[in-house]
């Protein structure tokens, strides 16, 4: 938890202080894609290595989908209510 915040904050400070050149910023964007894909690959590996999880995947996938749909609908509904109350003056 604390490591997550430190990583974010360190990066934020470097970005905010404009230490990086344009080239480095571009590299940062590319690195994000690489790290993200590597992370997903490694996470996939831990799923694959976990025999219990792997056998439950068909069930978990269904539950996950229900969750995904539920949070999407829930957030759209609440934002709709907020937009009707607080953003009425601006149309669409």
């Amino acid at each position: 938890m604390i490591n997550i915040l430190i990583s974010l904050l360190l990066g934020f400070l470097i970005g905010y202080k404009k230490i990086l050149s344009e080239k480095m910023i571009l590299l940062n964007t590319k690195l994000q894609t690489v790290f993200l894909l590597l992370l997903i690959f490694v996470m996939g590996m831990s799923i694959g290595m976990d025999k219990t999880i792997f056998t439950q995947l068909p069930t978990l996938g269904g539950t996950a989908f229900i969750f995904a749909v539920a949070v999407c609908i829930g957030s759209v509904v609440v934002v709709y209510v907020i937009s009707r109350i607080f953003f009425r003056e601006d149309k669409k």
Partner: protein
């Protein structure tokens, strides 16, 4: 990107299944932590670089924060509803819903807390949330309203799903979506552990 992610995920799972016995599980755990920190460091740089956000926030005022607030509340409400029909505790459902589409973080937080099953559900649910965002945003923008088009993306509205939102709405909404995504991204690392 989602296709690349799906392929990478499947590739990782297949590798884990067939090479799992030859790889140390602790090493894989450490690698995922390290990669997460490196990724967050890079994301942090992007956050620090985007100074125009502060200017836009000033223009729109505090009202802009009502959108991420609504997305967070709505996601938690959606998750609570799921707990009524599934054998998962309310806390677990709230932890999964708190991911806001940030699958890499939310999944790992639950897994690290000892809930491997919850971590997998969270990871998959949040990956699916991103995919559903790509599919649903054009429809929502057209048939409901532009503000609602920001909602399904959650935390991803600041990066991966921002393009689809701006394409279907306007520049102001795109800025709001970015701010919403940044706000939710900052909230996720705090919100998920609350329910663990």
């Amino acid at each position: 990107m989602s296709i690349v992610i799906l392929i990478t995920l499947i590739f990782g799972i297949v590798t884990g299944v067939f090479a799992g016995n030859t790889i140390d599980g602790i090493f894989v755990e450490k690698m995922s932590s390290l990669l997460l920190w490196l990724l967050l460091f890079c994301v942090g740089i992007d956050m620090g670089l985007n100074k125009q956000v502060f200017v836009q926030i000033k223009k729109l005022g505090f009202k802009i924060l009502l959108i991420p607030f609504g997305v967070a509340v709505g996601s938690l409400l959606g998750g609570s509803v799921v707990s009524l029909f599934f054998p998962h505790t309310l806390k677990e459902c709230l932890a999964i819903s708190s991911g806001m589409g940030w699958y890499s973080l939310s999944g790992i937080l639950l897994t690290k807390a000892g809930n491997t099953t919850g971590g997998t559900i969270s990871f998959l649910a949040n990956v699916m949330r991103e995919m559903l965002t790509f599919i649903s945003v054009p429809f929502i923008a057209k048939h409901i309203n532009y503000y609602c088009a920001i909602a399904p993306g959650g935390a991803t509205a600041m990066d991966t799903t921002l393009a689809i939102i701006s394409r279907n709405t306007n520049a102001t909404i795109a800025v709001m979506a970015f701010v919403s995504g940044v706000s939710l991204t900052m909230i996720v690392p705090i919100l998920v552990p609350v329910f663990l």
